[in-house]
């Protein structure tokens, strides 16, 4: 045993050294932590590199672990920029202090006020609406109205929802709280649950397939999921409806980014962020996942534009984060799984 162990120790030390050598990140490259998917971001990074010569390293993971990592790494973090989906997540990152506020006339001009942090620590880059989808075979658009109208008895056994574990539903309910207060929102959520045709689905695509197959007639989904399904099956008997057009407006969420608190290359990170907010980059960025550009002067792709104009809820998306824990508890109480 003894000899065996010492021989092993040598190898272990040698091996560890070899394993450590591969670690140093190249100092001139911009390092981006991204919870937005690699396939939806790499093309725009490639374009940026081609235009400016700035190289960018991407580390992708879920938002939760990435933010914890940034937080733990503190002032030794190699990351310059955090990119993620969902306003609530960005709010949470800012709350933990891993993002810095930046003064940029370019960003202020390009990104509308309700799509960025009031304290300028993060900026929305693309917009998606969480809206109503319905079966064109069994529902007339005149029957639809607001999110809360889905609690109406006529939808009993006809509504499909995605799980309340989805951050998009958590943000939607948080924004409903911002609009109506907790008490009324809880009634709305209870009303939805009472109308469910089948237990909540794990994702929007399964939900829309269930509507198409006739298991239910209406649901609530993100626009780009509808877009992807429509792209694959153009004759899908489903359509989008923009709720609350005579009231507050349709709930929107963002994907966005912020420069990290201890960014070693903060200046370059800000330049990249500003570049991303310009109309040309905005159009490309949004087109990658059939989203709306955050900048009003950039255009959405034809397929997306074809769903029609709609009024966005003007509430600042930061509230989605602030009220998200309350929203989750509310959904727990209402039995929305």
């Amino acid at each position: 045993m003894k000899r065996l162990r010492f021989a092993g120790l040598h190898w272990l030390l040698l091996g560890s050294l070899a394993l450590l050598v591969s670690c140093a990140p190249p100092p001139s490259e911009l390092i981006v932590y991204s919870a937005r998917n690699e396939t939806l971001i790499q093309p725009i990074i490639d374009k940026y590199t081609a235009e400016t010569g700035q190289k960018v390293q991407l580390i992708t993971d879920d938002a939760g672990p990435l933010i914890q990592r940034l937080n733990a790494e503190g002032k030794n973090s190699p990351a310059d920029l955090l990119i993620t989906v969902d306003a609530g997540v960005l709010w949470h990152a800012a709350q933990l202090g891993v993002l810095r506020s930046i003064e940029s006339p370019v960003l202020d001009a390009n990104i509308p006020e309700h799509l960025r942090d009031p304290r300028k620590r993060w900026f929305g880059l693309t917009v998606r609406a969480r809206t109503i989808v319905y079966s064109t075979e069994r529902v007339k658009p005149e029957e639809l109205d607001t999110y809360e109208s889905l609690t109406n008895e006529k939808w009993r056994g006809r509504l499909c929802l995605r799980t309340s574990k989805s951050v998009y539903n958590q943000s939607l309910v948080a924004m409903l709280i911002a609009q109506h207060g907790e008490e009324k929102t809880e009634q709305i959520v209870r009303g939805w649950v009472a109308n469910l045709a089948t237990p909540a689905f794990a994702n929007d695509t399964l939900l829309m397939q269930a509507i198409a197959a006739g298991q239910c007639d209406v649901g609530i989904v993100n626009t780009y999921y509808f877009g992807r399904l429509q792209r694959d099956q153009p004759d899908l008997p489903l359509k989008l409806f923009w709720p609350d057009q005579n009231g507050q407006g349709t709930h929107v969420n963002i994907s966005g980014a912020g420069v990290t608190a201890h960014a070693p290359r903060a200046e370059q990170a800000q330049k990249f962020l500003e570049w991303l907010s310009q109309p040309q980059a905005q159009a490309l960025f949004a087109s990658l996942d059939l989203e709306y550009p955050a900048s009003p002067s950039a255009k959405a792709v034809d397929q997306v534009a074809g769903w029609g104009e709609f009024k966005q809820s003007p509430l600042n998306v930061a509230q989605a984060g602030e009220l998200q824990p309350a929203a989750v508890r509310l959904m727990d109480r209402a039995g929305y799984l």
Partner: protein, 553 residues
């Protein structure tokens, strides 16, 4: 021949020096698992009461009941499937036995969440089966819903039974058919002999396999979230990502760990003191038992159905999706992804099997309570939800890194080189060790129970001792167990996502990272390509394993 009974072997006296070395070694090897567990445990010191009262009232009752149902259901079904299939394929001959013997291992390469997604896509209301049923009968309302407790149990059982199959097979192979023959000559019927001799003798293996299945079920997030089935794991994620309370998430993880610890302790106690020994004489191994006509076909049919459901049909679905949706994603980078996966999985299995062997030996020698506790702790990481463990590992790594970095800045000033310990191959391997030690340890420990102290004594009598004893005598005897352990770790690492994601060095994307990239945006069909690649790369070791054991079978 074989002896089952209370341990009556003389305890050899051990020098204090070797005792100390053992203690040190055990402490070092359990460190990667211990540190994240400590991170989790510290959360219990200052409970976050407001979140807890909410959880206790609205979340925990359901979650605890669901988790218990799921674990018991999966343990029973996966245990039964794995043990019975291992029994049939090692003891009997039936049509297709030769290829089913290894084919039944293949589901190991299909991640549980992939199987779950395929099952729901195929069997839910909008899926092709129910659509066809509706077009024939007008309604499919009588069809049992797949998104249900039963559905989740079934899918996880089909995904996880290979752990039990592999370990039970290893037990039955090393125990040999002669045992049954002897029991029969002693007046037992075949059936009685199975229940009274063969199964009890295989108990450590079966229990080891079922323990792995239970831990994997408790830690599973991917599959249950596709079913939207709420378990402890989903509650942990909800507290973390939904309520932004890392603290509550860690607390829930700690509670989960206490359950696991108690369960493992009880399982250990139930078999402590038992010794299982057997020396095989392979030259005189009797032929496989013959089965009567109908029984042959029934057995073959049963094995075939399991194979079809757990592997072949999901594989067809993956191939179909790849052709339809993902073929354009295939490019030269896939060689790189596959290479990264293989390098990580192979080096992890090497390190983990070596560590498992060391720990198993420490337990085999006379040992202190401390060593025993250290070994048990080292294998707990398998029951912790992946993302929680990943973050738990990251914290200590980052602390070490930042301390070193600060020290270097003190010495070299601003020209100090920048280090990033948390994204190095070393970090990945340490993290895998924290997670997968149980997977390597359980088969090795069971295998070592077959090597009796009398074998050691005989060897020592012939002048073979120390490292040579291990190399010349034990390793050949342990070959089946060691290969089993290596393959299990290899395939598990290939499928692993959260740890790989958070600790991989820059540019080190693997096949599993590709799967994550697709599934995290809900593009399941496009995830079929990397998933298929994992299956293909996982097939090679599975085939190797069975070929390696052929001579025994």
């Amino acid at each position: 021949m074989s002896a089952i009974g209370r341990a009556d072997l003389p305890v050899r006296s051990a020098g204090t020096q070797s005792q100390w070395q053992g203690t040190l070694l055990a402490a070092t090897l359990c460190l990667p698992a211990l540190l994240p567990l400590l991170v989790i445990a510290t959360a219990l010191i200052s409970p976050e009461t407001s979140v807890w009262s909410h959880l206790a009232q609205h979340v925990l009752p359901d979650v605890v009941a669901n988790t218990v149902k799921l674990v018991i259901g999966v343990a029973l079904i996966a245990g039964t499937l794995g043990t019975s299939l291992a029994w049939f394929t090692t003891m009997y001959d039936f049509p297709g036995r030769r290829w089913l013997e290894w084919a039944l291992l293949l589901p190991l390469a299909i991640p549980a969440y992939v199987l779950a997604f395929v099952a729901i896509g195929f069997l839910d209301y909008a899926g092709p089966l129910q659509t066809a049923l509706r077009s024939v009968f007008g309604s499919s309302a009588w069809f049992p819903p797949i998104r249900s407790t039963g559905g989740a149990i079934l899918v996880l059982s089909l995904a996880l039974y290979p752990y039990v199959y592999l370990l039970a097979r290893s037990a039955f192979l090393t125990q040999g058919r002669r045992v049954l023959e002897v029991a029969q000559t002693l007046g037992h019927t075949r059936r009685a002999a199975i229940w009274r001799v063969s199964l009890p003798m295989a108990k450590p293996w079966i229990a080891g396999g079922v323990a792995l299945v239970c831990m994997e079920t408790l830690a599973d997030f991917g599959a249950v979230s596709i079913f939207n089935y709420n378990t402890f794991t989903t509650a942990i994620y909800r507290a973390w990502f939904g309520m932004f309370s890392v603290h509550a998430a860690l607390e829930l993880s700690a509670v989960l760990l206490i359950f696991v610890f108690v369960a493992l302790y009880l399982e250990r106690r139930s078999r402590s003191g038992l010794r299982f020994a057997n020396s095989r004489d392979m030259t005189r191994e009797p032929p496989r038992f013959a089965l009567s006509g109908p029984a042959r076909w029934l057995t073959a049919g049963y094995a075939l159905v399991v194979f079809l459901l757990a592997f072949f049909l999901p594989l067809l679905q993956l191939i179909w999706w790849t052709i339809q949706r993902a073929a354009q994603d295939l490019d030269a980078r896939y060689w790189e992804f596959a290479m990264h996966s293989i390098v990580l999985a192979a080096s992890a299995s090497l390190v983990i099997v070596a560590a498992s062997l060391t720990l198993a030996y420490l337990l085999r020698r006379p040992h202190t309570r401390f060593v025993k506790a250290a070994v048990r702790t080292a294998t707990l990481g398998y029951a912790v939800p992946g993302t929680v463990l990943a973050v738990g590992i990251l914290f200590p790594l980052v602390i070490v890194n930042n301390t070193l970095q600060d020290a270097m800045r003190v010495v070299w000033g601003s020209s100090a080189p920048v280090i990033l310990l948390q994204s190095t191959l070393l970090a990945v391997l340490l993290a895998y060790m924290a997670r997968f030690l149980a997977v390597g340890f359980n088969p090795v420990e069971s295998g070592l129970e077959r090597v009796t102290h009398s074998i050691d004594e005989a060897a020592v009598g012939m002048g073979v001792s120390g490292a040579r004893l291990v190399r010349k005598v034990h390793v050949p005897l342990l070959k089946t167990s060691l290969t089993t352990a290596a393959i299990l770790v290899f395939v598990d690492v290939m499928k692993e996502m959260p740890i790989t994601l958070i600790t991989r060095p820059f540019g080190w994307d693997t096949l599993a990272v590709r799967v994550f990239n697709m599934t995290s945006i809900g593009e399941w069909e496009r995830a079929a390509l990397p998933a298929l690649a994992i299956v293909l790369v996982g097939l090679v070791p599975a085939a190797m394993l069975v070929r390696g054991n052929r001579h025994v079978a």
